[in-house]
């Protein structure tokens, strides 16, 4: 059965800290891995990763995929209170016709 597991489930840090969120997966016929940020309501897209070892970067956020070890990490440097959110990892499989399988999410709280 395909599955996606995120860790930790929740995390509290102080502004300026660097955090690393983890996502491991077991999926047949992997196609891509995606990260989303969910604040109050709708998740918003952050990154899509398809190749191992190639870092995607957007400002203070970056992500990398390891297809051999079947995991991805999302790094946030110099955290700000606005980074407080649930971060969702999802995997797309060719077997699933393009549908996404989501992990449980990591709830990040950044304190002033």
């Amino acid at each position: 059965e395909d599955k996606v597991v995120q860790s930790p489930l929740s995390l509290v840090v102080h502004e300026g800290d660097t955090v690393t969120l983890n996502c491991s997966y077991e999926v047949t016929n992997f196609r891509s891995l995606l990260w989303y940020k969910q604040e109050k309501k709708a998740p918003t897209f952050l990154f899509m990763l398809t190749s191992s070892g190639i870092e995607k970067k957007s400002g203070r956020l970056s992500s990398i995929l390891d297809k051999k070890e079947l995991f991805s990490i999302l790094n946030i440097t110099a955290t700000q209170t606005g980074d407080s959110a649930i971060y969702l990892c999802a995997v797309e499989s060719y077997n699933q016709g393009g549908k996404l399988i989501f992990g449980q999410g990591t709830e990040l709280s950044v304190k002033p």
């Binding site: 996606v4 995120q6 489930l9 196609r31 891509s32 995606l34 309501k41 709708a42 998740p43 918003t44 897209f45 899509m48 969702l88 999802a90 797309e92 016709g97 393009g98 549908k99 996404l100 399988i101 989501f102 992990g103 449980q104 999410g105």
Partner: protein, 114 residues
Amino acid sequence: IAGITQAPTSQILAAGRRMTLRCTQDMRHNAMYWYRQDLGLGLRLIHYSNTAGTTGKGEVPDGYSVSRANTDDFPLTLASAVPSQTSVYFCASSPTGISTGELFFGEGSRLTVL
């Protein structure tokens, strides 16, 4: 503003009642999805549609039905609501039937079944 509109935003419903959650998109996306989000379980796919006129079952389809009469609308119906269907429901869409990966989400509908 282009995007996905869900209605209602929230609803309290008595068990046994029928309920339809509405979802409309104006991006002309082919594929649409319904997810439910529960604490500790993440987002789970209920039903999907790769193109108008077709639908398919996701991970947790029991107790739910969908229709896709046209490109824009993808309503989710609970024929006889039960308390375990208390959740936040998200409608999403993507440009192609075989997803490019990125989903565009609506703002969610919070449903409480008593």
